[in-house]
Amino acid sequence: MSEPIQTDVVIIGAGPAGLFAVFELGLLDLKAHLIDILDRPGGQCTELYPEKPIYDIPGLPVVTGQELVDRLMEQIKPFAPTFHFGEQAAGLTKLPDGRWKLTTDSGKELIAPVIVVAAGAGSFVPKRPPIPGIEAYEGTSVHYAVRKMDSFAGKNVLIAGGGDSALDWTLNLAPIAKSLTLIHHRDGFRAQAHSVNQMRELVAAGKVNFHVASVKALHGQNGQLAAATLAGHDKKEWQIDADAFLPFFGLTIKLGPIAEFGIGLHENLIPVDTAKFESEQPGIFGIGDIITYPGKLKLILSSFHEAALMAQAAFHICRPNEKLRFQYTTSSSNLQKKLGVS
């Protein structure tokens, strides 16, 4: 295993709160690493509403979710944060020297005196259809993403969903699968029109089966799927052979391992004080939608304020022997140098 990464601050979550925290920490010369389960920055802004306009960011009368994230990325560029995308914060332990060791789900270790939880409502994870016992097949016969196409060669493949992932994999896997069945709750699709047309051609040619249906039950043993019971809207049920099931219903948010971090969660939120935004564990801070305090509002703008105060408190933990010099970006040549503007 590689050496643990040592830094000043590890931020869990690269949404707007986590990104702006990099800026506030950077002004105080504190280096940050960010961990996010998604493969790009922005959190809910880019995952849920990249194209939707936001009207309550001070100074920006209208900005889309994606634009806001792009601008934050530009703003924090001078501080060169390190991103660990596609990884989930999995474990947190206190070291004898008082620092924290954060472990990701891929086994990466990061050591820092300060951890900032900016995890929003939690991690984006694939939606799991409400089918009894589906967990037993996950990883063996039920997959929420296709990693190796070859593993579906010669299989009876069942795909559920109506978006681009469902249609793309229907088109890609149909030629190599023994059989391919696509099911969706309606005979209409949000996927690209040309993909839908191609799928309909395959259905007409007898190479893909399409049903307006949902999966009611999975059958098999030892994690190996053999068949699935489908049901139409008329409640009529029937069974088909299925060795692999690929549900594509997008992502949902689950709190995830943070719940086990021992940071005094209350109704899935971290209580913090409003002077430092520190949790009940010294050195673990929280900002943004994941925290609670009297009067808390879940607004992006609130997270910016929270980040600024957090950074001041984090400085005293990271640099206990240094005096914090409070400066303004408008007048401080020192800060302007850090920002690369003077």
């Binding site: 809910q44 939707k52 939606k127 709750h185 949000r190 879940k298």
Partner: protein, 102 residues
């Protein structure tokens, strides 16, 4: 106006609707566990309800955006709607909805 909402345990509660609020907001205000992850932007489908007893047909049909989002929802039925897109009004007095599974 009144909203009759059935939770995931099958218990029905009566909610006093507020004109102009969405049904999602009313359900949450009444303490029902509706995730509404995106905050009512029609961007997540976690406020799905089943509209019962013939009320579905009385509603303004879903816009394309809502139909698209329902494509990504689980356990969608012909009477599924996103409650963030249903605005309380006198015409909906007595509407019955059931929370979709989480």
């Amino acid at each position: 106006m009144k909203i009759y909402a059935t939770d995931r345990d099958g218990k029905e509660i009566e909610i006093e609707g507020r004109e102009g609020w969405t049904i999602m907001e009313m359900l949450r205000d009444a303490g029902l566990p509706v995730a509404a992850e995106c905050g009512g932007a029609c961007a997540c489908a976690t406020c799905q309800v089943y509209v019962e007893d013939g009320w579905y047909e009385k509603l303004t049909p879903p816009a394309d955006m809502e139909v698209d989002m329902l494509d990504m929802a689980l356990a969608v039925e012909p009477n599924s709607r996103l409650s963030c897109q249903l605005v309380c009004s006198e015409e909906l007095d007595g509407i019955k909805v059931t929370l979709a599974p989480e």
